[in-house]
């Protein structure tokens, strides 16, 4: 390479520069630049050091999680070239129904969670079927579902927030404690791990005695020592359960989209629906499943929202679909379909989440906040604009 004549000198240079350049020019690189800019903003305007506190980041991640879960589903739909405007309303419906099941009817979470998730998925499947079978434009079909689900949420809740104050027949209220599942979802990973593992080990030790029990106790102590002294406890104490749910959704959606045949089909549909159909992709089924997945994730987000608010609010999730779309687009997924990915959406979620947090800790007034958010969204998308 070094002894090459002058004609090959230029290509050699580009070969050397390529990995770096290629990364910066790739969608992921550009999305990361946008995220880095927002974090730099936080480092500059750190609000008396609030930005450097661990709690700020824990909260930022937790607050972004509900939007992130919605955005995962939105990514699947947008990659097919569609859009799902119903996710915010389905979130509210799920929150209301979940609160009714667990607070008012006292159902166990093992029953309530699957049913609510299923409810979300069926809402998505309905709007998916409307676009796939009846060829209603996704914008219209999901707009209809958006209004319908909001109405259903209001009917299901009687127009009131479903909270721990339960109305009696005579107009008075009785008050019941917050269900355990709400507290579980709204806690931190460390608390959950410690209480579960503690209970589990105590149970085992109480059942197993003798030298084996002693050995087991020693192993548990060793595990605990590692947990406490190797920073795991610190990390776990600063990650919310909601964030873990979000990351789990990201991982699942990524697996399906990047590693499963169905994911390939979604890209094919978004690239060229007719070509996909002609090459044997089951377009209708794949599309319906994409919308169903978006609805399912909206159901999950609804459960997280209800747990964090300790109530089911039929007005919750208003305009969340717009935030979810903004996250997906800032990540770099193409609104026309066919290009994008969940990894990009994860970066987009962090970008929007941190942007909100930086504006919030600096107590920026609402009007300027809206304007700044608009400007920054445009800037972020502009960095995505030029493609190779």
């Amino acid at each position: 390479m070094t002894d090459s004549p002058d004609k090959t000198a230029a290509p050699a240079l580009t070969v050397q520069m390529n990995p770096m350049l290629r990364f910066v020019a790739s969608p992921a690189g550009r999305a990361l630049i946008a995220l880095a800019l927002v974090i730099l903003l936080g480092v500059i305007f750190h609000a008396d050091g609030a930005f450097f506190k661990i709690g700020t980041h824990r909260d930022a991640l937790r607050q972004a999680s509900v939007f992130g879960i919605l955005a995962c589903g939105m990514t699947l739909v947008i990659i097919t070239g569609g859009i799902d405007l119903a996710v915010g309303s389905v979130l509210a419906l799920a929150a209301v129904v979940f609160a009714t099941f667990t607070i008012h009817w006292g159902w166990t979470a093992w029953l309530a969670v699957p049913l609510v998730v299923l409810l979300g998925a069926s809402c998505g499947a309905i709007s998916g079927s409307l676009t796939a079978w009846f060829r209603i434009q996704p914008f219209i079909a999901t707009l209809a579902m958006m209004v319908f689900a909001r109405g259903l949420a209001k009917i299901a809740s009687g127009g009131m927030k479903v909270s721990t104050a339960v109305p009696n027949d005579d107009g008075t209220y009785s008050y019941i404690p917050v269900p355990g599942v709400f507290r579980l979802i709204d806690s931190r990973v460390g608390d959950v791990l410690e209480s579960w593992c503690g209970a589990f080990s105590e149970y085992l030790l109480s059942r197993i005695g003798g030298w084996f029990g002693d050995g087991l106790a020693w192993v548990f102590d060793a595990v605990e020592w590692i947990y406490v002294n190797c920073g795991i406890a610190f990390v776990c104490a600063n990650v919310s359960v909601v964030t873990v749910i979000f990351l789990f959704c990201v991982a699942l959606a990524w697996l399906l989209l990047a590693r499963h045949r169905w994911g390939r089909q979604l890209y094919a549909i978004g690239g060229n629906e007719e070509a996909a159909r002609l090459s044997g992709v089951p377009v209708r089924r794949a599309k319906i499943m994409a919308y169903a997945a978006a609805g399912l994730l909206a159901g999950v987000a609804g459960i997280c929202q209800a747990a964090q608010e300790q109530q089911g609010d039929p007005e919750a999730g208003m305009a969340y679909e717009l935030s979810a779309i903004a996250i997906v687009v800032i990540g770099g997924t193409n609104l026309m379909g066919g290009r994008g990915g969940i990894g990009l959406t994860l970066i987009g979620t962090l970008t929007i989440g941190y942007l909100e947090k930086v504006l919030s800790i600096n107590a920026v007034p609402e009007a300027s906040r809206l304007m700044l958010t608009g400007v920054i969204i445009v800037l972020a998308v502009l960095t995505q604009k030029r493609r190779r």
Binding site: A47, D48, A50, K53, G55, T56, D59, Q63, F134, R135, I136, I140, A144, V147, F148, G151, K154, G158, G159, M160, K161, S163, T164, A165, P167, G171, T172, Y173, Y175, D186, Q305, Q308, E309, Q310, Q311, D313, E315, A316, E356, K357, S360, I361, A363, P365, E366
Partner: protein, 328 residues
């Protein structure tokens, strides 16, 4: 061909939409006795029909208002109330008023969405001889029988004074504001600032949470991250105060901070005070029960005042069981 078909489908969808929306339009009760024309009710009638035009049932407070009207009316078998919900649409509410006039109700209660566009429809109803009670938000001019409403500035001032008293005249307060482009948000803010004027109360952090609990929690988390020493949270509504409490609880700082909200709905603010979540809540009365009282007086031919300003009540842990104390 294909284009024509999708247009038909589109039109069909839109049609379905409006049909659905029409079904949802809440007419909770249909009057059993058909109203007898648009005559004014000088002679006692067997059944009086009252039309209640609510601007928006999306807010729990307005749901409570309708409930208060309903509960008060239920005690009087000679009253029949027809409810209509305008779903936050001014023109829809105007249509509702006109429908009530042509149906010839004996009295109209309206909680208008906004003053200017509804002034004329209300005036027309009034001129047609139907007594009109305006609830909560005003209309312009004097073409109505009676206005019943509460005073947000007064409530904000009372909250400010109570907070100053609780903190001994000095302390660090977080203010979580309602939508600051709305009149209640502005009044609850300016009243509060009047209430703490001249004290050493310092508002260290203020943010617009747009009446929403989830926003309040986010903003409070930022305040907690930024300030290690917060004495009190003043939120413009109870869900806001509850959201702030949840944020403080997650940071294990809820014991050091007092939380004050406004509205005192039975299932929100009062429930939170009973559950020891909020330290105080100030009632923003709906006036629903008072409206029925005034309606009965009008039917009995009595004179009623043109303006009725409702008082507020303060609920704290100590007095919530006794129904709170009135604020003068």
């Amino acid at each position: 061909m294909h284009g024509a078909r999708s247009i038909v489908r589109f039109a069909f969808t839109i049609g379905m939409f409006f049909t659905l929306a029409g079904c949802c339009e809440s007419e909770e009760k249909t009057p059993q006795a058909a109203p007898a024309g648009g005559q004014t009710s000088a002679a006692p009638k067997e059944v009086y029909t009252i039309g209640m035009s609510q601007c928006n049932l999306g807010e729990p407070w307005r749901v409570q208002m309708n409930k208060d009207v309903e509960l008060a009316a239920e005690k009087h078998p000679n009253l029949e109330v027809v409810f209509k919900d305008a779903q936050n649409d001014t023109l829809k509410q105007r249509a509702h008023v006109e429908e009530f006039v042509s149906a010839g109700v004996d009295l109209l209660i309206i909680s208008p969405k906004e003053a200017q566009p509804l002034t004329e429809p209300v005036a027309k109803a009034f001129q047609a001889g139907i007594p009109v009670i305006v609830l909560d938000r005003a209309v312009l001019g004097d073409q109505f029988t009676c206005f019943i409403g509460a005073d947000n500035t007064k409530i904000g001032r009372a909250a400010g004074e109570w907070i100053a008293e609780q903190l001994g005249g000095a302390g660090r307060v977080v203010e979580l504001k309602g939508l600051m482009t709305s009149i209640p948000g502005q009044d609850r803010h300016s009243g509060f600032r009047e209430g703490i004027e001249g004290t050493d109360i310092e508002v260290i952090f203020e943010a617009d949470m747009k009446w929403l609990e989830s926003n309040a929690r986010k903003e409070m988390e930022s305040a907690l991250a930024r300030y290690d020493d917060i004495d009190m949270v003043y939120a413009h509504n109870d869900p806001g105060a509850h959201g702030a409490y949840l944020a403080a609880k997650a940071a294990d700082r809820h014991e050091d901070i007092m939380f004050v909200g406004i509205d005192a709905l039975p299932h929100e603010g009062i429930a939170y005070v009973i559950q020891d979540i909020l330290d105080a809540t100030f009632q923003y009365p709906t006036g629903g029960a008072e409206a029925i009282d005034v309606a009965l007086r009008i039917f009995a031919g009595e004179e009623v005042p043109k303006h009725i300003v409702l008082g507020s009540r303060l609920f704290t842990k100590d007095n919530v069981a006794d129904g709170g104390v009135a604020i003068e």
